[in-house]
Every structure is written in C-alpha cells, then in structure tokens.
C-alpha cells in the first residue's frame, strides 16, 4: 500500500505543445507534446524501492516497467514479461521476459529482476511494502536478517526466464509484481559503485520515459525513452511532474491552462463550484483508500489506554465530516478496509448504528473510568500535513472531542516532515491515508501485521492478529478467506488501534484535450497510453 496525502494534487498539467521535429512520430499526432502534470508534494526519492507516497510512485511507474504492468484501465497486462505460467500447485511462477533494453542500451535480463527482488527484501533497503513479498521462499527470513539475500526463492533459469518459488499459493501475488517496488533494476548500474544512481543523467530506465531533469521544489522532467520496447506507441514527447502541494494553487494553475491534469486538485470548499464551472474536466470516482487517524499505541501516552481510544472513536461523528464538511461523496467509514475493494471484508466498529448522543455518553463514561474529566483534561497532540482539507477535518474533530474534556493541540507539518515523523513513531494522533496498490484487503491488513508500516509507526503488535492475516494469504477458498480477513480486521477495530474516518473518492481535473486517460480505482494512470490534442502551438 502506498501512503497518500488525500487530495494531494497530482495535476497532469499544462500541455505544452512543442513543434514537431519531423521524426517518425506515432501515427495520428503530427505534433508531439510534453504533458504538464501537477504532482503533489516534492518527491523525496525516485528509487522505486524507497518511495512511499503516490506522488513518488506516479513518477517511478513511468520510468520502470514491471514484469506485469497496469493497462490503461488499471487491469494487469504483460510488461517486461511477455508471458507467465503458474504451476499446478500454485507455488511456482515462471516469467518469460521479452527482448528489451535499458535506456543505455544494455539488455534487460532475468538477472536484473533477481537482483531487484533480492534488494527489495534486504533489510537495508527498508522497503515499507517488503512484507507483501513474504510469500516468496525465504523472503521473510531475509527481511528480518536471518538469511542471506542470495537464498531468496527467485532464480534466473536463463537470461530471459525467471522462476519465482512461493512457500504457499498466494492470491494477490501477481498484483504485487505490478507494484513499482517489484520493477527490475539496472544491476550493471547499481553494482558499479555509483553513489546516487537516481540522479538525472545517471539513472537508466526500462519504462516509456527516462529521467532528464529534476529541479527540487519545482518539477521532475522525463522524456520519451527511445529504447523502450514499445517506443512507437508512446505518443507523448515527455512529461513534467510539477511539485505543487497546495490544492487551491493546483486548481488555479489548471484553470489558467498551465496544467493538463491535476490530481486531487479540488479543495472541498470549491467542489460545488467546480461541478458547475469545470464539469468537463472534473473526474470523480471511487478510490480504494482509507482516510484515518493513526494512534500511537506505545506506552507513555494516554493512548496506550484502550478506553481512551474507544472514547475518541465513539465521539467522532463521521457523517458530519463526509456530508457537511466535505460533501464530495466520501463514505463515512467504521472499518479499515474500504468497501470499494474487490472481495470486501465485513468487519465494523460495533457502535456503528448507535446514535451520537448515546455514543457521547458512553465516551464520557470511558474517559471517566480512565481518570480523565473536567478537572483533569486529556491533552493530546494531533498532527497533519499542511493541506486545507486536512486542517478542516482536524479542526472539526478537535471540536467534537472538546465537550468531553479532551484538549487537542493541532500541529501542521510539511508533508515530508509529517511522514518522516510517522515512520519514527514521533506523534500521538496523526492523519494518514492508505491507498491500495493491490486490489485486495490483504494490502491494508498487512500494514498492521508484524513488519508492516503501520505496525512499525504505532507499535501495534498482536501475534493472534498476525496469525489470522498470515492464514488468510494461504486460504484459496474465497469465502473462508474473506471470513479470516474480516476476523482479523475486527480484532483491529475492537482494540481501537485507529480512528477510521472515511473511504476515499478521487477527484481529478483532466483537460478535455487529454486522450487515453481513464479513471481507475487504484488511481494508476500509465502515461504510455496518453496523448494530447495539441492544436495550439
């Protein structure tokens, strides 16, 4: 899963038509264009195994093809692998790689894929999704430092055949291979002793685009990769990913024509206005993501007391937030795994159908038992990354809790600082957004399992929960699997380890000139299939 700053503007923006150079460009477009994308926060890295936010993986997915790619509609399609086979017992996958080259002309081989997967589970890489790959033989042992990376169950049978051995059949595994961290990496470059291989000019790419420039706090520029195996089909000359975090700024720049696509560019306060005035550009749809508040469960904060957490959960009026505060069609959530996911779970907070008054009364009681009250107010710090809607929600929630004698100190931090603070466990209550990278509840539940990113941030550890999640990955019967996952999720909810708020919708602005862009529930949009009608010079 990828952390997402909800509504972090990813604007695919301003289309700047460049004049045709008279090269053999793909069929219809006489003029090739550079697509202008507003991409939210400044990326902290472009190493596909070290990225953590969707504003980063949006770029790396264009630079590095995986063995299995996303199609224009988000479905899985062959990428660097032209075909694959699953053995009858579901434990061995054999990928047949196509003939392809890195952007420096070196061939892309099965060894590059082996190298990348070994690096992915090496503890030093600290990939926050590494536990999604635990089904691979020995991956868990390597990731916890108990085995050498070479012992990973991944073998290059020849230069174009890759075999992956799984310890158990795993339902979602092919989807995990489409994630940006699973992309084969240029082994010849990474092993050459170079210090930072992700710099422009140094980095070589396997995807449709190659990195040409990176201006910090301004934009990342990529150009069409002439050595890409399907270079003829790529219509765009290049893409500029602008680092624009502020939603209003994104929307304004989209309106002025500087941006062609703006992801999440509409602040809730201007949503109605946008519906009326930007209807032909506004693309609204469900997104498999969960907006929630993470709670630090470690000893030493009042939140280590389960009664306090339950009281906070009870007094949080989700309908007010989704209906009156945001009004963009989000679903109030009493669960962690969004209901829009394929094979949804059925877990839910048990007070879900009680009315607010009795919930508040119960919350008061619990706080009273925990020793807090008007004489001894509960003081907590709530941090969020600086963005209009995050602030609105935080302010509203603080106001919902105040009548219970809960005093909230609101702390806004810049996105990079906020998420770094989360990784280090430096928070009490923190805003978070999880967006699925794999369309399966496991993607979410795994975050709180041992080794998962949320478990690391919050200090949550429950062996029974881990066992349930683990068991669900090996269960191939859909109903029994759903039951196991629901049971696991219910455990999380009963312990009140988080405060779920709503299931995401995604709101993007896409210029009508942009062709081939489709809304997807994972919010992945391969730009390889995108073109722009560039009539104006």
């Amino acid at each position: 899963m990828v952390s997402m700053d909800a509504f972090r503007p990813l604007a695919l923006a301003g289309l700047m038509a460049t004049t045709s150079l008279g090269l053999c460009l793909p069929a219809a477009d006489a003029q090739a264009a550079t697509l202008q994308v507003g991409n939210g926060a400044e990326p902290s890295t472009l190493d596909p195994q070290k990225v953590s936010g969707n504003w980063e993986s949006r770029i790396t997915r264009q630079l590095f093809d995986r063995l299995v790619n996303y199609g224009p509609d988000g479905a899985l399609v062959p990428g660097l692998a032209e075909s694959w086979e699953l053995s009858d017992d579901g434990r061995v996958i054999t990928f047949r790689l196509r003939e392809a080259q890195w952007s420096d002309g070196e061939p892309i081989t099965a060894d590059d894929a082996v190298f990348a997967l070994q690096r992915l589970v090496t503890p030093a890489t600290a990939n926050h999704n590494a536990n999604l790959y635990y089904p691979i033989v020995n991956a868990r042992a390597i990731n916890t430092g108990e085995a050498e990376p070479e012992s990973l169950g991944v073998t290059a049978l020849d230069s174009r055949t890759l075999e992956i051995r799984l310890s158990e059949p795993t339902a979602y595994f092919l989807q995990a291979m489409a994630m940006t961290e699973a992309a084969p990496l240029p082994r010849h470059l990474l092993t050459s002793g170079i210090e930072d291989w992700t710099r422009p000019g140094t980095m070589v790419a396997s995807g449709p685009f190659v990195l040409t420039d990176w201006k910090p706090q301004d934009k990342v520029e990529v150009e069409r990769n002439p050595r890409y195996y399907a270079a003829d089909e790529v219509a765009l000359e290049g893409v500029d990913f602008h680092a624009i975090e502020d939603t209003s700024a994104l929307m304004n720049r989209f309106r002025s024509g500087e941006l062609d696509i703006a992801y999440g560019a509409v602040p809730s306060a201007r949503f109605e206005w946008a519906q009326e005035n930007l209807s032909e550009s506004l693309r609204v749809g469900p997104l498999i993501g969960s907006y929630f508040y993470m709670l630090n469960l470690r000893e030493g904060t009042p939140l280590s007391d389960e009664r306090v957490r339950e009281a906070l959960n009870l007094a949080l009026d989700r309908e007010v937030i989704t209906e009156r505060l945001l009004g963009m069609g989000q679903t109030p959530s009493y669960w962690f795994v969004p209901r829009t996911i394929a094979s949804p779970t059925s877990a839910s907070l048990d007070f879900h159908d009680q009315d607010m008054d009795s919930r508040r009364a119960r919350a008061r009681e619990l706080l009273d038992q925990a020793g807090y009250g008007p004489d001894r107010p509960l003081e907590l710090e709530l941090s969020y990354n600086t963005l209009e809607d995050h602030k609105k929600i935080a302010v509203a929630i603080a106001a919902m809790w105040r009548p219970l004698g809960v005093e909230i100190e609101l702390v806004n931090r810049e996105a990079a600082v906020h998420f770094a603070g989360l990784r280090q466990g430096d928070f009490e209550i923190a805003r978070y957004g999880f967006v699925a990278t794999v369309n399966d509840p496991y993607d979410f539940l795994n975050a709180y399992a041992a080794g998962g990113s949320a478990a690391a941030s919050t200090g949550y550890a429950d062996p029974e929960y881990d066992a349930l999640v683990e068991a669900s990955t090996h269960e191939l019967d859909a109903d029994r699997r759903a039951a196991l996952m629901s049971e696991a999720e219910q455990r999380l909810l009963e312990a009140d380890v988080m405060l779920p708020i709503y299931d995401y919708v995604v709101v993007n602005l896409v210029s009508p000139d942009v062709k081939g862009w489709q809304p997807t529930t994972l919010d992945v949009h391969p730009l390889r299939y995108v073109s722009v009608d560039a009539d104006a010079p």
Partner: protein
C-alpha cells in the same frame, strides 16, 4: 528645538516638547479620528470576544460556510468549519495587533537609540556598531526563526522576539543617517557650546529632529510585521490552529473568495482599516513632533 533649557527664568514657562506635540496633534482631525478608531479596534479585539456568543474554536454544526446573517447569530458569517467569523477576526486581531505593537515598539526603542548613538559618536564605535548590524542583516530570517523554534519549541512569543530582533536593523540605519546629517547643524554646535551633555544632545536635539522619517518608517513597519506574521503562520511556524491572526484569515479567505467572499472581506476590512488609521496617525504625529514646523 526645545527652548526650555535655554529659557531665562523671568520668561513665561515654555511648553514641554510633549505637551506641545499633543496640542498640535489634537488639532489634526484625521489623526484624532484615527486614534479613536484604533483605540476602539483594540478594545473590540481584546474585549469583544467575551461578548460574542461564540468561542474561538466553537463549531456551529448547523452552519458551515454561511454568509453574514442576523438570524443564526453569525453577524459576519462562518468559516468552512462553522466557526463564527466575527469572533475569529477579533481573536485574530489580538494576535496581529500585539505582534505589530510589540515588534514595532522594540524596533523603535532599540533602533532609534542604537542609530542615534552610532551616528553621533562616530569613528570606530560607529564602525563597530554598524558592522554588527550588517552581520545581523546577513542572517537569513527563516533560519533564525527555525533555529529559535528548535531551541525553544513552538511558541507565539517567539514570533514577537524573532520579528522584533530583525525589524530594528532598518530603523537603526535610518536614524544613523539622519544623525550624521544633523550633528553638523548649528543648533547642535550651539548646544555643545552651551555645555549640554552628549546624552542630552542625543535625546533632546537629535532624536526629535530625526522623528519625521522615523514615524514614517514606523507606519510602514506595522503592516510589514503583520504580513510577516501571516507568512510565518502560513508555513506552520507561527500561530497554530485554532488560534488565528488576520494574516491567516486573509490567506484562508483568499482561497475561498469565489465561493465565500465574506471570508476574505471581513478580515481584510479590519486589517485595511487598521493600516489606514496607522497611516493617518503617523502623518499627524510627524507634523506634531517635528520641531521645525512649530
């Protein structure tokens, strides 16, 4: 120039500098009206929030983002979170006005004395004092604020300190320049010849004569400080929710001006009115305090 130190004992008692200035200021209608208005504004900001039915962070769950209305009790509307805009603007005024007042006062006291001494004494002392100012100038402001935050934690008084620590530098330079010009003038030499002490020459003769540019500069400093504070708050270094300031309210309002113009208009009117008053008052003060216009 003041005459009291020179007045022969038999002559009628002369007006003091202060009383004289006040007499002239009170004849200036625009300045007096501004003074009253500023007083009212300050009073409203510091007492008003007790009188409005809403608190700083109270959310009216039935009135998100409503325009000015008499019925719901939100006379100037609510913000996107359903908080009463009048109440928030008044609270914001507390922060903005006190930051402006404190920072400007600090810059006035330190800057004027520092500049006058530096200019009057001259020579090596002048050189040392001004190089110190240069060094202070070369410290990046943001750096200073972030350093202060790291050392002392997040605190609103830090903003006062940080802004005050930077704003006196300009003032010191202006006053030094004035002093350098003034100390060659005849009345200073006359004072010397009569045996007036250096300290007295600086406070009674040099500073009053330099007051014109100083007052003008002060009236420019106040809006600058208010804007600086909103800039810091915008970056998350200044005031934190639910506390607010005029600058923060305006920057929030600007984002919403298409759909909820009152959110921009209300704090802007308060800020603009304050700045107008300060300008008129500054103008009046300059006239009143300038010894040459007597």
């Amino acid at each position: 120039m003041s005459t009291d130190s020179l007045a022969p004992t038999a002559a009628p008692v002369g007006d003091s500098l202060g009383r004289d200035a006040w007499r002239r200021l009170s004849q200036n209608r625009a300045a007096m009206a501004s003074l009253w208005l500023l007083g009212l504004m300050t009073l409203a900001c510091f007492i008003g929030p007790w009188l409005t039915p809403w608190g700083l962070a109270d959310v009216d769950w039935n009135a998100f983002d409503v325009g000015p209305t008499l019925e719901g009790g939100h006379w100037l509307g609510t913000d996107a979170n359903g908080r009463d805009l009048l109440t928030r603007t008044l609270y914001g005024g507390q922060v903005s006005l006190s930051v402006a007042l404190v920072a400007t006062f600090v810059s006035l006291i330190i800057g004027v004395l520092y500049g006058a001494v530096s200019g009057y004494v001259g020579g090596r002392v002048d050189n040392l004092m001004m190089r110190f100012v240069d060094i202070m100038y070369s410290l990046p402001f943001m750096f200073l604020v972030i350093l202060l935050m790291v050392v002392f934690g997040r605190n609103i008084f830090l903003i006062y300190a940080a802004i005050g620590a930077v704003e006196w530098l300009d003032m010191a330079r202006i006053v030094r320049g004035q002093t350098l010009a003034l100390k060659q003038r005849e009345f200073v030499e006359a004072a010397h010849a009569l045996g007036v002490k250096d300290g007295k020459i600086v406070t009674r003769h040099l500073i009053p004569n330099a007051i014109g540019p100083v007052i003008v500069y002060v009236t420019l400093t106040v809006p600058k400080v208010i804007l600086l504070e909103s800039f810091l708050s915008f970056l998350g270094l200044g005031v934190q929710e639910p506390l607010t300031s005029w600058g923060v309210l305006i920057s929030e309002g600007a984002d919403m001006m298409q759909t909820s113009p009152w959110m921009l208009l209300v704090p802007s009117v308060f800020l603009a009115l304050t700045l107008f008053c300060l300008n008129f008052l500054g103008d009046g003060l300059r006239d009143a305090l300038d010894p040459k216009t007597r």
